[in-house]
């Protein structure tokens, strides 16, 4: 099992550690609900060093990224980031990812899911074989911390010379954090404002401890993977393996906004164009469980007594205080308010299609 450079810090903080995607990671510290609410109301600090970092570099780096992903990376300037995907020729997901533009057109950082890093790296190497671009898997060098929540900027600003007030969402800057060279981006996976801090330093715990020291008096808590999952679900952010996979297309996942058909050819373009022309047979929607009980991944979903599919993500949402989830329903059953049933153990529980995200933060 791999350990992040912050493993000892988590142990000292009393975290409960579990294996996730081959890594020993903190699942919770003081308690999932408390951590979840801290992020929504104050701030939370996450170790997400398990995430993968793949660098594409060379004269055709942009050309390769454009070929591999449906969003238009050609629009990115250095300092900018976009959400995108690695798509198969069928328009389904190899992974979802963030594309960081380091230099136009020759250097891009792809931040990918921990569980997919090796697969993604192999995919990019294979598909990129004919391009003048070098692909390197830098994942083990990077530590990544996420500071999320309404107080994130207030907590981080005194620790860095980067002017955070000038950093817009999906932008990044280089600078020191607590004296450690870092890349700081205004991104996250919680539905809150916040930052992700990348460093190749061997001592990322210096950053962790500085943020905790400064943040704890303001209500910051360390947050584990448990609350990370419920936070991202309330914000309807995708989890690979649950909500998106190589069996679901980008359009079915309701992510048409990351597909830029005008930008030129990319893997899956023809399949997605065809699917768009023919109309979607199913679509990912959000639901609430009306009856008692919590729907969880793989629970059976019924329409008019017929099993049609299974729940993708499903959990209790600690901030919205409801049992919520995501499921692919036949297009004719995706209208807001449509009711269906979920088999929760030996009972049939009523559920209803609702607008998403389940939680949206108020903009200042």
């Amino acid at each position: 099992m791999k350990k992040t450079r912050l493993n000892q810090v988590h142990r000292e903080a009393g975290a409960r550690l579990i294996e996730f995607a081959g890594w020993e990671m903190p699942v919770e510290y003081r308690g999932l609900i408390e951590e979840h609410l801290a992020v929504r109301t104050k701030a939370g600090l996450f170790d997400v060093s398990h995430m993968g970092e793949i660098i594409v570099e060379g004269p055709e780096a942009l050309v390769l990224v454009q070929y591999l992903t449906p969003n238009d990376a050609g629009k990115l300037l250095p300092g900018q980031i976009q959400y995108s995907a690695l798509t198969t020729p069928q328009g389904t997901f190899v992974d979802d990812l963030l594309v960081y533009c380091l230099s136009v057109p020759d250097k891009y950082l792809l931040v990918v899911n921990a569980a997919n890093t090796d697969k993604d790296f192999a995919w990019i190497k294979e598909k990129g074989a004919g391009f003048k671009a070098r692909v390197t898997n830098e994942s083990d060098r990077y530590s990544q911390l996420a500071l999320q929540g309404p107080l994130a900027q207030e907590i981080l600003q005194p620790l860095t010379e980067i002017d955070l007030s000038q950093m817009k969402a999906f932008n990044y800057a280089y600078g020191q954090v607590a004296g450690i060279d870092s890349l700081v981006s205004r991104t996250g996976y919680t539905g809150e404002d916040g930052f992700e801090i990348y460093t190749v330093s061997e001592t990322p715990e210096v950053i962790w401890k500085a943020i905790v020291d400064r943040g704890e008096p303001l209500g910051l808590q360390p947050v584990g993977l448990g609350a990370r999952d419920t936070l991202r679900l309330e914000a309807k952010l995708m989890l690979y393996g649950n909500d998106i996979s190589d069996k679901t297309t980008v359009l079915e996942a309701d992510l048409k906004w990351i597909v830029k058909f005008q930008k030129g050819d990319f893997l899956g373009k023809a399949a997605l164009e065809q699917q768009l022309a023919e109309g979607l047979k199913r679509k990912l929607v959000g639901f609430e469980v009306i009856d008692k009980g919590i729907a969880r991944p793989h629970y059976p979903v019924y329409i008019s007594g017929q099993k049609v599919t299974e729940v993708c993500s499903g959990s209790y949402g600690p901030y919205v205080k409801k049992a919520i989830g995501l499921v692919y329903l036949p297009s004719e059953a995706t209208a807001i308010g449509t009711e269906f049933e979920i088999g929760i153990r030996d009972k049939m529980a009523k559920a209803r299609v609702v607008p998403t995200p389940f939680y949206k933060r108020e903009k200042k």
């Binding site: 699942v27 919770e28 308690g31 999932l32 609900i33 408390e34 448990g226 999952d229 419920t230 008692k292 009980g293 919590i294 969880r296 959990s315 209790y316 600690p318 153990r345």
Partner: protein, 128 residues
């Protein structure tokens, strides 16, 4: 930590025996493993179970866990407070967070359960 006068099962239920009846709950270890409990599926009063059958279901944010009956018996009361405040199990697992009361079918079945000291040893074994 673990009350001396309770009986404990390997599935982390406890029983507090009062005559022919027993109060049942889950142990502090179990509630910590589950995390924040948000829903308890209680059985109907009058339900009879054999040893090792499912009595109730406890759900935390991230997981679902069946509560097994360590012994045979009949459910004679359930903790109605858990419907509104399931977190009582986290706050006070050996007290206010009790789940239900059973009328015991055969008190000799209690001999198969652990006393507090044995249960604590059992837990130490799990942690290594």
């Amino acid at each position: 930590m673990y009350p001396e006068n309770f009986y404990y099962s390997q599935d982390h239920e406890w029983l507090k025996v009062e005559g022919e009846e027993a109060v049942l709950g889950i142990t502090d270890f179990a509630q910590k493993q589950l995390g924040d409990i948000i829903y308890v599926d209680l059985p109907a009063v009058g339900k009879t179970v054999e040893a090792h059958q499912t009595l109730a279901t406890v759900e935390s944010v991230k997981s679902v866990s069946d509560v097994y009956s360590p012994v045979a018996g009949e459910v004679i009361e359930v903790n109605q407070q858990l419907i509104q405040t399931p977190e009582l199990i986290n706050r006070d697992p050996h007290g206010q967070g009790w789940i239900l009361k059973l009328r015991l079918k055969d008190k000799s079945e209690l001999n198969s359960l652990m006393k507090a000291a044995d249960y604590e040893k059992f837990l130490e074994g799990l942690e290594h």
